[in-house]
């Protein structure tokens, strides 16, 4: 595991990609830091992180796109998968290498509240809580990106899939307010989610029966729920869209609350997507 981790970190820092992405992230944060904190005098560094959330939609897929897809394209995945290393170790090594790259901007962000404290009073707990939450949130986004990198050997496709999913997550709040206006729209939206779930089951198992059963059960339950209580469908959709919103739990930290629920949520997302990545790699042995 250590060998793979070292090689990954080495490859990020011996090619321009690592430096460019870090520079891009720092530039955007630096811009907002100057505008909000230095020029307008806001002491909460979390506001800077909140305003640069959209940067993560591009940053994370670009950082993770080559994790597994490049290995597959170069056929070096054979070296890893034939080595006496467990698949979970390979996935963890790749993921931790990505986390190491974001460790650089994270370290820079940690200095920002200290800089601000030179000019006035800073609520360190709020700022550092937000930075901690940003780290967890970014790790969750990276886990999503690593998963999409494992499903294709095309880096661009991996990056686009990761971007699309993160964008959907980013916009989920707005989409929820649009589709919860009527029960019909909510049913349509949940039906799409059921079908997407069915596709995911098919992709992981290549079993049409299982995928059809998963999507079918979801649709039947949805229909039954709609016929029994249409208002429940709307609340179910709100809950479903809330669950896929990776960015909402971060806002709690900016408001000065250290939410254990949010921490557990981010850790769950990380574990879920790393688990899916392991399954995606193991599936290749059978297909």
């Amino acid at each position: 595991m250590l060998a793979i981790y070292r090689r990954e970190v080495h490859s990020y820092f011996t090619s321009p990609i690592g430096y460019l992405l870090i520079a891009f992230l720092l530039l955007m944060n630096g811009f907002y830091f100057t505008a909000y904190n230095l020029q307008n005098g806001y002491s909460n560094y979390g506001l800077v992180l909140y305003n640069t959330l959209i940067v993560l939609l591009v940053f994370c897929p670009l950082l993770t796109m080559r994790s597994f897809s490049e290995e597959r394209r170069q056929k070096t995945d054979q070296l890893l998968l034939c080595a006496p290393v467990r698949t979970v170790e390979i996935v963890l090594a790749k993921f931790l290498a990505c986390v190491t790259v974001i460790g650089v901007p994270f370290a820079v962000f940690c200095t920002c509240p200290l800089v601000l404290s030179l000019y006035g009073t800073v609520e360190f707990s709020i700022s550092y809580g937000a930075i901690f939450a940003w780290l967890l949130m970014t790790c969750a986004c990276l886990a999503v990106g690593v998963f999409f990198s494992s499903v294709t050997e095309n880096q661009i496709v991996a990056a686009l899939c990761g971007f699309a999913v993160l964008l959907l997550s980013y916009l989920s709040g707005g989409i929820t307010s649009l589709v919860t206006s009527s029960a019909g729209a909510a049913v349509a939206c949940l039906a799409v989610i059921c079908l997407a779930l069915g596709f995911l089951v098919w992709y992981m198992t290549r079993s049409r029966v299982l995928a059809g059963a998963a999507a079918g059960v979801g649709l039947v339950v949805l229909l039954a729920l709609y016929l029994a209580d249409s208002a429940a469908v709307v609340s179910a959709l709100s809950a479903a869209m809330g669950a896929i919103d990776l960015f909402e739990p971060f806002l709690v930290f900016i408001n000065g609350i250290f939410s254990v629920t949010s921490v557990v949520y981010y850790l769950s997302v990380i574990v879920l997507f790393l688990f899916l990545t392991v399954q995606s790699l193991e599936r290749r042995r059978y297909n």
Binding site: Q74, Q78, C82, A83
Partner: protein, 350 residues
């Protein structure tokens, strides 16, 4: 060392490996021979744990590849069909990485020995992306040797190499025998016949033969076949050959008082032939034993497999046709019975 039992692998409906079983003994060199698509790489990928099998078992040094994959993989050094190289690393960095991956200490002395053995000492600090194809192949082999695993599996190790490099790689593989069990694959017959102690011939996913190249040749030839050019008359030659345990005797006049003779014998009759012809006053001007090349064996065995498949398909088609005919005749008989049963009623109605 390696025990393979009833190994089967499917790609969708395609049966890539069809119930093959074999065992590899320590210190010997085994050659997988088969045309493209015969299932060589798939079998090797299963042995190394890269692919799963639909059925069957593989044990390496007693470790089950599917049940205890880490322990089994520790026993194997593998060079896949396309060498798994990271172009941005130097050769030495790559070998150190391979050592880390295999969880063995990257001792400088051992790495230097591998570099020396594979002829990479001069390029050890060069980036892999700048190396020629031949050197890249060597780096792949060097990677397989890291950790000194007891089993070395090489999938088409000489592909893309020039003739000189091929000879060098062959020498290297020969040198690995004895210390390691080596399994290499190739669709080039000469590669296998020159290096392997035992040849395993695969065709359409089936193991059609497994023996030493010499035994395979003997088996394919069936008998010792000799061709002679003798100075003398055909009758005298025929008389001299009376009582010899030979078969397939053909004697033909070759002009200018010469006779061309072809014969087959299970026993070695060369010396007896010489004395018999000398006694008859017939000088043997030329004598040659017909040899069977591995190519002949390969074509014969894979041809047999093709013929067996064709026969199977033909038999299946005949059975299907017979069934269809039987069903048709049954249906016709049922119709006749129905008509004959309906006829009296009609008469009654009439």
């Amino acid at each position: 060392m390696i025990e393979v039992k009833h190994l089967t692998r499917r790609y969708g409906k395609l049966l890539a490996v069809d119930d093959i079983s074999f065992s590899l003994q320590p210190g010997r060199i085994y050659g997988f021979l088969g045309p493209n698509g015969a299932g060589k790489s798939t079998t090797m990928n299963i042995l190394t744990g890269y692919l799963a099998a639909a059925e069957g078992s593989v044990t390496v040094n007693g470790w089950d590849v599917f049940e205890e994959p880490q322990a089994a993989r520790r026993q194997i050094g593998y060079l896949p069909e396309q060498p798994p190289l990271y172009p941005e690393m130097t050769v030495l960095e790559y070998l150190r990485f391979a050592a880390g991956l295999k969880k063995v200490p990257a001792k400088q002395a051992q790495l230097e020995q591998i570099l020396e053995r594979t002829g990479l000492t001069g390029v050890q600090h060069r980036l892999i992306r700048t190396l020629s194809k031949g050197y890249k192949q060597r780096v792949g082999i060097a990677q397989a040797l890291v950790g000194d695993p007891p089993v070395i599996i090489l999938d088409e190790p000489t592909v893309g190499l020039d003739p000189l490099q091929r000879i060098e790689v062959r020498e290297l593989i020969r040198g690995l025998g004895g210390e390691h069990t080596v399994l290499l694959s190739s669709h080039i017959l000469s590669e296998i016949s020159e290096v392997a102690d035992v040849v395993l011939i695969l065709s359409h996913g089936r193991l059609v033969a497994q023996d030493t190249p010499e035994n395979l040749a003997r088996r394919a030839a069936g008998t010792n076949r000799h061709q002679l050019l003798i100075k003398g008359k055909a009758e005298a030659v025929r008389a001299a050959l009376q009582g010899f345990p030979v078969s397939g005797l053909e004697i033909a006049e070759a002009g200018e008082g010469l006779v061309r003779v072809q014969l087959e014998s299970d026993a070695d009759v060369r010396e007896a032939l010489f004395w018999s012809m000398a006694k008859a006053g017939c000088a043997i001007l030329e004598a040659a034993s017909a040899s069977v090349s591995l190519e002949d064996i390969f074509l014969e065995l894979t041809g047999e497999e093709e013929a067996a498949r064709a026969a199977e398909a033909k038999a299946a088609a005949e059975i299907a046709a017979a069934r269809a005919a039987a069903e048709e005749s049954e249906a016709a008989a049922a119709d006749d019975a129905a008509q004959s049963a309906a006829a009296p009623e009609g008469k009654e109605e009439a």
